[in-house]
């Protein structure tokens, strides 16, 4: 009998002989991620539950990113509570200003192919880029895992997405996932796993896969999964085990649906205000005047993304009266970008470069806007009021498209 990737991971984790969608099983967490914005609530619930110690402090990672740097008076309270919790329960893995949680979890080697990982942030689906089952949960759930090391899940069905062929030059993986979310709808993958495969996927860097896995939750998905390959091994700095190599959808695996795309058919797209599934080709939106561009976030703040933007911005200047805010996803990426001359290009173009963190994406600071303003952003959400008042329009796009818009001062396609 054949299995999907998620079924294989769950079988391996639980030791169950058979596993099928709909089964309620208890999985052991291989790693958990808690971030600054919710640590006070996690800490509270953990102690309210009566736990005296973490099931395994080494498996827990605490990352400050939403509140770095602090923008409101009570933000630092989150750091104090986080530091105290980590100290009290012997947590060694604490990152206070190294970048966005989802970037660090794979970049710093906390997640390996085949792992089961939970995080207090919906975009925890990101780590599926290396073939891990990773999903977002609330702080009460996290507190219970910190005490027990386990969580119940319902085995999801899987939608397989097959992409074959060569992507056009102006298309990035962001355009692929936006198109898919548009086709599925914001609840089209609710409770489902999304498996990505095909020659186009195999060609993609881990960074590009990360963008896709990151946004899977915007179609309601429980998780996203990519088969670990040599690129994964190189990125994770490991040799793939037999089990990890086996994490591919079986020919006779049972899928809810198989969706096929030809890579050549993709075009640069945007998610229009104020829903992630409101997708239109950039060509249909050309000419709309904008006030700001944001390049960053766990979706598209990596070296590959900054390089794509730099390729468009080299020797040119951001349009007058338009702000370009660039927020690299991690300290490491910032340093690599400097080494490669990318930061020089971006600053020459007039970019406002901020410290690695969530920045504008989480909408607390970092370029908030007011009535009537429009922003093109490379993050993952454009909900009403996300980046300012409810009369602000947010268009989601790839870094390449976003950079082109910054130069023009209006929505345009990257050449």
């Amino acid at each position: 009998m054949g299995y999907t990737i998620i079924e294989k991971i769950i079988r391996n984790n639980t030791g169950a002989q058979t596993v099928k969608p709909g089964d309620i099983v208890t999985v052991k967490a291989d790693r958990v991620m808690i971030h600054d914005i919710f640590i006070p609530f996690v800490a509270d619930k953990f102690e309210e539950m009566g736990f005296k110690k973490l099931w395994d402090p080494d498996k827990a990672v605490l990352i400050y990113d939403h509140l770095v740097p602090a923008s409101q008076l009570d933000d630092t309270r989150h750091f104090r509570i986080g530091d105290a919790f980590a100290a009290k329960y012997g947590m060694k893995h604490v990152h206070r200003s190294d970048g966005i949680c989802h970037q660090l979890m794979t970049e710093a080697g906390y997640v390996k192919p085949g792992d089961v990982v939970f995080g207090t942030d919906s975009h925890t689906t990101t780590y599926g880029c290396v073939g891990a089952f990773s999903s977002g949960i609330g702080y009460t759930e996290m507190a219970s895992i910190l005490g027990t090391g386990t969580m119940w899940i319902k085995v999801p069905e899987t939608i397989k997405v097959v992409i074959e062929g060569k992507l056009p030059d102006d298309v990035m993986s962001k355009d692929i996932i936006l198109r898919l979310i548009g086709d599925l709808g914001a609840d089209g993958a609710t409770y489902l796993a999304l498996e990505f495969t095909g020659s186009t996927v195999e060609e993609m860097s881990v960074s590009s896969r990360m963008t896709i896995a990151n946004m899977a939750v915007e179609a309601g998905a429980k998780c996203a999964l990519f088969t670990p390959d040599e690129k994964t091994a190189e990125y994770c700095e490991i040799q793939l085990s037999e089990f990890q190599k086996s994490l591919t959808g079986d020919e006779d695996g049972v899928y809810k649906k198989v969706i096929r795309y030809r890579a050549e058919d993709f075009v640069p797209v945007m998610a229009c205000p104020s829903q992630v599934d409101k997708i239109k080709p950039v060509s249909e939106l050309e000419g709309i005047a904008i006030d700001q561009v944001f390049i960053g976030s766990c979706t598209n703040g990596r070296l590959e993304d900054l390089a794509a933007a730099a390729g468009v911005l080299k020797d040119k200047k951001v349009a007058d009266y338009v702000k370009l805010i660039v927020t690299p996803a991690s300290r490491k990426i910032y340093q690599e970008a400097m080494e490669q001359g990318i930061m020089e290009i971006l600053s020459e173009a007039g970019a406002i470069i901020t410290h690695p963190g969530c920045g504008l994406c989480c909408g607390r600071t970092g370029g908030i806007l007011s009535d009537g303003e429009r922003v093109v952003a490379t993050n993952n959400r454009n909900f009403l009021g996300r980046m300012g008042t409810s009369k602000v329009e947010i268009y989601l796009a790839s870094p390449k498209t976003a950079a082109a818009c910054a130069l023009a001062g209006r929505i345009v396609s990257a050449e």
Binding site: P69, T76, R77, R80, S97, Q335, I352, R364, G366, E373
Partner: protein
Amino acid sequence: MGMTIAEKIIAAAAGVDHVKPGDIHTVNLDRLMSNDGTTHLTVDMYHNKLTNPRIADPEKLVFIVDHNVPADNPKTAAAQKKMRDFAREHQIDFWEGKGVCHQIMMENYVCPGELIFGADSHTCTYGALGAFGTGVGCTDFLYGMVTGTSWVLVPESVKFNLIGKLPEGVYPRDLMLTIIGQIGANGCNYQVMEFCGEGAKTLSVNDRMVLCNLSVEAGAKTGIFEADEIALAYLQEQGRKPKAVYKSDPDAVYAREYTIDLSAVEQVIARPDFVDDVVPAKEVCGVKIDEAFLGSCNNGRIEELRIGAGIIKGKKVAESVRFLVVPASLSVYKQALKEGLIDIFMESGAIVMNPNCSVCWGSCQGVIGENEVLISTGTRNFKGRAGHPSSKVYLGSAATVTASAIAGEITLA
């Protein structure tokens, strides 16, 4: 009777041969600068309080967005939008996200001999290039914008005769804090602090900016240096020519004179909550800190970044400390990038932000929380300046601040 530099600048601006302290003159303003602290208020008054509003000379205006960059809430964003739209409509030079206003002004506009109003108290910085810069509120700014003129009560000048040279490890910021500590927060109230002497010759334009910038913290209307070869060389590098170069006359009259021996200055700290509560840094060593800030119009230039990088290279920021490093302008950032300084700070665990007022302004970036302690290269340490009313701010040089960031407590550099 002779005139001081400041008196000469005012006389020229008033179109008269001679002015003396106590006179009131109508002056032509050479330039007006406003930032996102108050421009939206000026714009509102322009539209709502004036009949037939017009701008005397848009070419003399500079609008700079620097205080809340990137914007932290819709109100800020709306205020900035108002400023941006006005600048666009009236073709006013507009800078956004390019750095702190006074740094941009010094890099791009200020010329010796000019009389400049800025809607920001630290406009006194421009004295470093022999210009008379002073801070005004939005109403005075509006008047200046609409008429191109204003009234000025000619201030007395106080002479600060600098002798000797700063010792190794002691910086212009230590010097200026020492002076303010000596004369008090109203020590030069409504007066011009004129810095001269052989000691002045040992100070670069950057150093002079540090001094002039803080003169308002002693209550001064402005601080000023003669535009000598050092200033003129800086100006030439920036591609500008002076409007006029003034020297104080030998028989100019000063309200008071001080002699300051630079070689006797040591590392100092201004303790919370007053800029003039200045003590030797060694007296506060050991005070635990939560945050350190290297930046601001006072101490965020390449010279200070080099000092900080030199101290932190190969070392790490203390785990319990947030060390924010914020270059004063995009030009400074680009230079720091080239020199590998940004990499040194990144490697050390510092938080490097875009050029803006940041922690000094204390409104939205690196704000400190309840009972927290900050050591900063900013201009002020008033109660609640950097965040929570219960928090404490210590002012020190870039060197002292960086050394403290590494140690996790106030430490001598």
